[in-house]
C-alpha cells in the first residue's frame, strides 16, 4: 500500500487548495453543530447559569463564539490541501489533528456531486469520493468549480479504466459528453404523485377529515361516559391525567400530519428536476431543488433492480424503481440519499420495464411465468397471526360493544383474510438463463430481478414441518442485501440453486 508521501513523491505534483468559498460551507457545518449544542446549553443557562453569569457579558460571549467559528472555518479552509497524482488522490486536512488520507483510484467506488444553495452563485460543488469498505474512508472536496469536479471525475474514471484493461484504448472516455443519453426525466406532477404515494399516512388522515368532528365527538362522549368509572376506580386526580392522555394522542396525530406534509415537501426538494442519464456505462442521477445532487453508478456494479409498488402506486399505475449496487460500509443510509441506491421515483410500468431492461439486457421480469409458492405458506400465516389477531380483536370488540361490535369484527376479519390471501398469491419465483425473478407484494406487486451471476451466497432453510413437504425457504445473498423467498417447492428450488452455483462457480463472472 502506498502512503501519502509515496504518492506525492511519485511525481512532482503540487498541493492544491479548494476555493475560498468553502469557508461558507465550513461555517454552515459548524453553525449546525453549535445550534445542536446550544439546545443543551440554553436551557441550562436559563435555569441556573444566569445567576452565575451577568447578562451584560452575553453579547460579548456570543460574538466571541461567532469569531471563533469564523476563525476555525478559515483555518479549516487553509489547512485543507489535496493533490491528484497518477496513482491516486492525497488529502491533508485538519488543524490540530493533521490527517493524511490516501485514496488510490481503484479504491474509489463512487463519485457524488452536491451543490448546496450557497454554492450556486459561484458555481461550486462538493465532490464526495466514496470508497469500498468503511465510511470513514470518505473524502470530500468542498467548493471546487464544476469544471474541476468533472476533471476529478474524469481523472478517476480514466485511471481506473487504464488499470483495469490496459489493452483497450476505447475504455478511456475521450470525448466527454457531459449529459450523456438521458433515460428518464420526472415532471412536477410525477413528483407530487411520488410525494403523495410515499406518505400514505397523509392520505389516510385526509380521507378521515370529514369525520374528524364525529370522531372527536365520539371520543369526548366516551370519555364523559367513562368518567364516573374512572373516578371511582382511580380517584379525581386520575381523571385529569386521563384527559391529558387523550389530548396527547390528539396532538400526536396532528404532529404526524405535519410531518407527512414535510416529507412530501422533502420528496419534491429531493427530486426536483430529476434526470437519469447514462454515459460510459454509468447511470447518473441529477436532482434537487436547493441542493443539486449528482449520484452515479456503474452499470456493471448494479446487483439488483427492484420495481416496488404500494397500493396507492397500483391505483395510480406507478412504480418506484430501485437500482442497487453493493452496500459500502455498515451504516444504514436514508433511502433517498444513499449512494448505493438509485431511485427512479413514480415511473409508469412501461418506463420501469424499459429502464430495467436497460440495466439488465433481455430481462423478462414482467413477462415471466412465475412458480407460485406452496399453499402451506397461507396456512402458516393463518396460524401464526391471522387467527390469533382476529380472535383477540373480535373478542375485545364484542366484549366491549356487544352486538354493535360484530360488524366491525367481521369487517376486520374479511379485510385481513383478503390481504393475507393476496399476499400469498403475489409470491412467485422463476428464472431464465441469466436472471432470477421474484414477484411479491400485497395489493401492489413488486418485481425483483437480479442476475444469477451476482449471487454471493445461497442459503437454504427448512424447518421440520416444511422439510417433510419438500419445501424450502431460499435466501440469495447479494452484495446489495439478501433476497428471501419462502415455501418454494424443492422441485423449483433445486434446479435453480444448481444453475446459480454453476453460473457462479464455473463461468466465474465478476460481480463488480
Amino acid at each position: 500500500m502506498t502512503t501519502s508521501t509515496e504518492i506525492a513523491q511519485s511525481d512532482d505534483t503540487q498541493w492544491h487548495r479548494v476555493s475560498p468559498w468553502s469557508v461558507i460551507h465550513f461555517l454552515w457545518l459548524q453553525l449546525k453543530h453549535t445550534v445542536s449544542f446550544a439546545i443543551y446549553i440554553v436551557p441550562a443557562y436559563l435555569v441556573g447559569g444566569h445567576k452565575l453569569l451577568d447578562s451584560q457579558w452575553l453579547p460579548l460571549i456570543v460574538s466571541g463564539v461567532a469569531l471563533l467559528l469564523c476563525a476555525s472555518a478559515v483555518l479549516r479552509y487553509l489547512f485543507f490541501q489535496f493533490c491528484i497524482t497518477t496513482k491516486g488522490i492525497s488529502i491533508r486536512s485538519g488543524v490540530l489533528d493533521r490527517t493524511f488520507t490516501d485514496l488510490t483510484f481503484e479504491r474509489i467506488q463512487n463519485i457524488k456531486f452536491d451543490q448546496p444553495i450557497y454554492f450556486r452563485p459561484a458555481g461550486l460543488v462538493i465532490v464526495t469520493l466514496d470508497t469500498a469498505g468503511s465510511s470513514k474512508q470518505e473524502a470530500q472536496f468542498v467548493g471546487v468549480t464544476n469544471d474541476y469536479a468533472r476533471y476529478i471525475k474524469q481523472t478517476v474514471m480514466q485511471a481506473r479504466a487504464e488499470s483495469h484493461h490496459q489493452a483497450t484504448p476505447d475504455a478511456t472516455p475521450t470525448v466527454n459528453n457531459d449529459d450523456g443519453e438521458v433515460l428518464n426525466r420526472r415532471s412536477m406532477r410525477d413528483l407530487v404523485l411520488h410525494g403523495v404515494t410515499n406518505n400514505r399516512m397523509w392520505i389516510l388522515l385526509g380521507t378521515l377529515a370529514p369525520f374528524y368532528e364525529q370522531i372527536s365527538g365520539f371520543i369526548f362522549s366516551q370519555m364523559n361516559r367513562l368518567r364516573p368509572e374512572v373516578e371511582s376506580w382511580l380517584g379525581e386526580q386520575a381523571v385529569a391525567l386521563w384527559y391529558v392522555g387523550v389530548m396527547t394522542v390528539l396532538v400526536a396525530v396532528v404532529l404526524i400530519i405535519i410531518m407527512a406534509l414535510f416529507s412530501i415537501a422533502g420528496s419534491i426538494l429531493m427530486f426536483y428536476g430529476y434526470t437519469l442519464s447514462k454515459h460510459d456505462n454509468k447511470y447518473v442521477r441529477r436532482s434537487g431543488l436547493l441542493n443539486r445532487q449528482e449520484v452515479s453508478m456503474k452499470q456493471s456494479r448494479v446487483q439488483i433492480a427492484r420495481q416496488q409498488q404500494d397500493w396507492l402506486d397500483r391505483l395510480l399505475g406507478r412504480v418506484n424503481l430501485f437500482i442497487e449496487q453493493n452496500v459500502t460500509g455498515q451504516q444504514v443510509q436514508n433511502e433517498l440519499k444513499a449512494t448505493n441506491k438509485l431511485l427512479v421515483p413514480s415511473v409508469t410500468i412501461n418506463e420501469a420495464d424499459t429502464l430495467t431492461r436497460d440495466v439488465f439486457a433481455n430481462q423478462q421480469v414482467r413477462q415471466a411465468e412465475f412458480h407460485p409458492i406452496h399453499i402451506r405458506y397461507l396456512w402458516r400465516q393463518c396460524i401464526l397471526w391471522l387467527l390469533p389477531l382476529n380472535a383477540a380483536i373480535g373478542f375485545s370488540l364484542i366484549f366491549n360493544l356487544q352486538y354493535k361490535g360484530v360488524i366491525p369484527a367481521l369487517l376486520f376479519f374479511a379485510v385481513s383474510c383478503t390481504l393475507t390471501v393476496l399476499h400469498y398469491k403475489r409470491w412467485g419465483l422463476t428464472n431464465d438463463e441469466q436472471y432470477v425473478y421474484i414477484r411479491k407484494g400485497t395489493i401492489g406487486i413488486d418485481y425483483w430481478c437480479f442476475p444469477l451471476a451476482k449471487a454471493q451466497q445461497v442459503v437454504i432453510k427448512q424447518n421440520l414441518f416444511i422439510r417433510r413437504r419438500k419445501l424450502v425457504t431460499l435466501v440469495f445473498v447479494l452484495a446489495s442485501g439478501k433476497v428471501k423467498i419462502p415455501f418454494v417447492s424443492e422441485e423449483v428450488a433445486a434446479p435453480l440453486v444448481q444453475k446459480l452455483l454453476h453460473e457462479v462457480e464455473v463461468n466465474k463472472p465478476a460481480w463488480m
Binding site: N326, V327, Q330, A455, Q456, Q457, V458, V459, I460, K461, Q462, N463, L464, R467, K470, V472, V477, L478, A479, G481, K482, E490, A493, A494, P495, V497, Q498, K499, L501, H502, V504, E505, V506, N507, K508, A510, W511, M512
Partner: protein, 179 residues
C-alpha cells in the same frame, strides 16, 4: 485454472434434493463436549453462587431477597438445561463439505440451514479461537463475502490443523486472485 477445465464434481443431476446428498464431514466431537461442559459449568457456577448467597450464615436475607434468589436460580437452571439439551442434539448436526468450488455448511435442529459459499465470492477468511476453543485445540473458520457481516459463513468446532488447511485451500484457490 482455465474456465473450460473447471469442475465441481459431486454435482451432476438437477434432480438431486438440494445439496443434501453430498458426502459431508462432521465437526469435531470435542466441540459438542466443550459446549456441553461449558453450559454445565456456568449453570453450576451461578447456581452455587446463588446458593451461597441464600444459605450463608453471616446475615439474614430479607424475604424478598430469598424469593429473588430462588427465582433467579430456577431461571438459570432452566436456561442452562435448555442450552445443554440444545447443544446435546444440535451440535451433532453440524456438518460441512468442501468442494472444489465452494464451501457448504449444514446446521440446525428445528430450523435446518444449508449455506453454500462459492470460493469465487470469498472476500477474506480468518480463523478465530477463543480461550476455551484454544484449550480444546479447536477453531472457528470464518468466511466473509461481499454479502455483509450478517452472512458470514462460520464453521465452528474444527480441529485447529483442519481449519488451517481449509484456510490454506481457500487462499491457494485460483479464484481468490481474480477481480
Amino acid at each position: 485454472m482455465e474456465n473450460s477445465t473447471v469442475t465441481n464434481l459431486p454435482l451432476k443431476s438437477a434432480e438431486l434434493p438440494i445439496l443434501a446428498s453430498l458426502p459431508v464431514e462432521p465437526v469435531s466431537a470435542r466441540y459438542r463436549a466443550l459446549n456441553l461442559g461449558l453450559s454445565v459449568f456456568f449453570t453450576l457456577f451461578v447456581t452455587v453462587i446463588l446458593a451461597i448467597v441464600h444459605f450463608q450464615p453471616w446475615f439474614e436475607l430479607p424475604f424478598e431477597g430469598q424469593v429473588a434468589v430462588t427465582v433467579a436460580a430456577i431461571i438459570i437452571f432452566t436456561i442452562g438445561s435448555l442450552t445443554f439439551a440444545y447443544h446435546f442434539f444440535a451440535d451433532r448436526l453440524i456438518f460441512y463439505t468442501v468442494r472444489e468450488q465452494d464451501i457448504i455448511l449444514y446446521k440446525g435442529l428445528f430450523f435446518k440451514k444449508v449455506i453454500c459459499q462459492p470460493v469465487l465470492r470469498i472476500q477474506h477468511i480468518d480463523i478465530q479461537r477463543g480461550p476455551f476453543e484454544r484449550y480444546f485445540g479447536l477453531a472457528t473458520l470464518k468466511v466473509y463475502s461481499a454479502g455483509g457481516s450478517d452472512h458470514t459463513l462460520a464453521i465452528p468446532g474444527l480441529p485447529k490443523d483442519i481449519a488451517e488447511r481449509l484456510r490454506q485451500f481457500v487462499l491457494n484457490h485460483s479464484d481468490l486472485t481474480r477481480d
